[in-house]
Structure formats: structure tokens, C-alpha cells
């Protein structure tokens, strides 16, 4: 009886591994940047190319750093979530306009609403590389000390916001 069970046990273990494997998203590569200081940048602002914006400007507050572009289809899906979040005033959202043209980006925001306190323009994608961006949209939660606490790869859905990002932001804000 015991010997007959062994193949069954091996089979169930293999099925278990395969089942877990099927549910993993290969696009979600864990970022080595979580827990590390956010890479420094100083970029021109989207609304005013003469003014610069730097990650140091946000020191002392918890903020979201959302990488987006007007050419990015999935950014469309998350945009209304971001607009609603910015209206709630819970946490400031800063944008990184990744490999985009200024005109397209401004038009996009005019059409769909602007959830960003400010947007930095990363025209050649250099800052994107520093942040390990490989698929827009991506969003970073950065704490008061400027350390990356979380990285969302792909669009922010209402569920992700409610279950992951907002609880984390609240925890970081009382720290």
C-alpha cells in the first residue's frame, strides 16, 4: 500500500509545481531596486522646460513615481485610477514621461486629465534605465527618506491600489 502511494505523491508534487508556475507572470521580474535609494535624477519639467525637477525635491514625503508615455497603450488603462487617486489627495504622484515627445505628452494630459504634481521629461530614456524600466507603465512607491519601497510593473488597477499601494503608503506616512 505504502509503495503504491509513492508515485502518486511524486505526481502530486509535480502538479503542484506546474500549477504554481502557470500562475506566475514571467513579465514581473523582481526589481533589485526595492529597498534601495531611488536613483538620482534632475530633468526638465513637462510644463516648463526651463525648470528642473529632481528626486531630492520630494525628500521628506511619501510619493508615487509613475513612468508613463503618450504612446503607451496600457497607460490608458490606469490613467483614470491615477486621476481618482490624485483627487483624493492621499499621496502626491509625480510622473516620468518616458521616451516621448513633449507635444504628444501635453496633449495626452490635456485630453485625459493631469494626475501629476509635476512630470519630469526623460526624452532619451536614460533615467528610465537607472530605474530599471522595461515596460511602461511602471510605478514606484518612494518613502520619506527617498528609498524605493515597492515597484508596480504594468498598470495600476483599483485592486492593486486598494490592496497593495494604499496600505503601504499609509504605513510609510506614519513612519
Amino acid at each position: 500500500m505504502k509503495r503504491a502511494l509513492l508515485p502518486l505523491i511524486i505526481f502530486l508534487v509535480v502538479v503542484g509545481f506546474l500549477f504554481v508556475g502557470l500562475n506566475l507572470d514571467p513579465r514581473e521580474v523582481p526589481s533589485p531596486l526595492v529597498g534601495k535609494p531611488a536613483p538620482a535624477f534632475s530633468l526638465p519639467r513637462l510644463d516648463n522646460a526651463d525648470k528642473m525637477i529632481s528626486n531630492k525635491d520630494m525628500l521628506g514625503k511619501v510619493w508615487l513615481f509613475n513612468v508613463w508615455a503618450s504612446w503607451c497603450g496600457a497607460c490608458r488603462d490606469e490613467h483614470h485610477v491615477l486621476v481618482a487617486l490624485s483627487k483624493s489627495g492621499v499621496v502626491p504622484i509625480y510622473g516620468l514621461d518616458y521616451k516621448d515627445t513633449r507635444l504628444d505628452a501635453l496633449q495626452w494630459l490635456a485630453e485625459r486629465g493631469n494626475p501629476y504634481v509635476a512630470t519630469a521629461v526623460d526624452e532619451n530614456g536614460r533615467v528610465g534605465i537607472d530605474y530599471g524600466v522595461y515596460g511602461v507603465p511602471e510605478t514606484y512607491v518612494i518613502d520619506k527618506a527617498g528609498v524605493i519601497a515597492y515597484k508596480q510593473i504594468g498598470p495600476i488597477t483599483e485592486a492593486v491600489l486598494r490592496d497593495k499601494i494604499l496600505p503601504l503608503v499609509k504605513r510609510l506616512q506614519i513612519q
Binding site: P26, R27, V29, P30, S31, P32, L33, K99, N124, G125, R126, I129, D130, Y131, G132, Y134, G135
Partner: protein, 154 residues
Amino acid sequence: MKLIFRVVTVCCLMLIANAWADEARPLHDDVAVEAQVQRLSEELRCLVCQNQTLADSHSELAEDLRQEIRVMATKGMSDQQITDYLVERYGDFVRYRPPLKSTTLLLWFGPFALLLGGGIGLFLMLRRRAKSAGNLPLSADEARKVNALLNEES
């Protein structure tokens, strides 16, 4: 005079044709730098099309990263330094040869452990089977039959 003019014209045309027929120039004049870029981009994964190397991929990110590698190579950075730079940003996943560390132990040694386990299992099974087959005592009836057959032969 006319002949000389013709010869010169033909020569000039040949020169132009030669310039057109020139091979595609490498992106960087320094051959060593370009070789290093090529070597590294064959070892690194493009995160957009994950089953392609940076060398194979035509995605924009891959092009940017190749350019980034080229800039670093021009500065004289070593393969190790450039790989570290990318791993810092994108994680070990960018490397096609994952490093040996605690989180990758199963990846590196799992197949050998399975092979060893299977080998031991097979060995034990075969030994048990050989033992049980060899030591079966004959019943009295069987012994008689065997003896009868043996006697018949001789």
C-alpha cells in the same frame, strides 16, 4: 587628350562605386569596443522580449541598452563592471548565466540532485530484484522436475 579624360572619368566612377560597395560600418570605430559590446549583448537578456538576448532583440529598450553598453565600453569599463551596472538596475534576470548564490542553488544543483536520487532509487530497486530472484528455494516438486530434465540430457 580625350582618352586621358575618359580614363580619369572611368576611374572616378569606379571610386564612387567602390565607396558605395563598402561594407556596413560597425557602429563604433574602435573594433575592440564593438567586440565587447557584441560579446556582452549576447550574454544579456532583453527584458522586453525575454527569450532574446540584447544582441538579437530589436526592441527600443534593447537598442538603448546596447548604446549604454557602448558608452561604458568606450570609457574602458570591464565586462564585469558593465554587467554589474545592469544587474543593479534589472536584477540577475538580465544575465543568461545566473550567478551561483543561495537563491539559485536549486536552479544550479536541482537537476543533479534529481539525477542522483533517480540513480540511487534505480540501484536499490535492481539490487532488491536480483536478490529476490536468486534466492527462491525450489519446492520438492520442482526439484524433482529439474533432476528429471537434467538426467534426460545426459
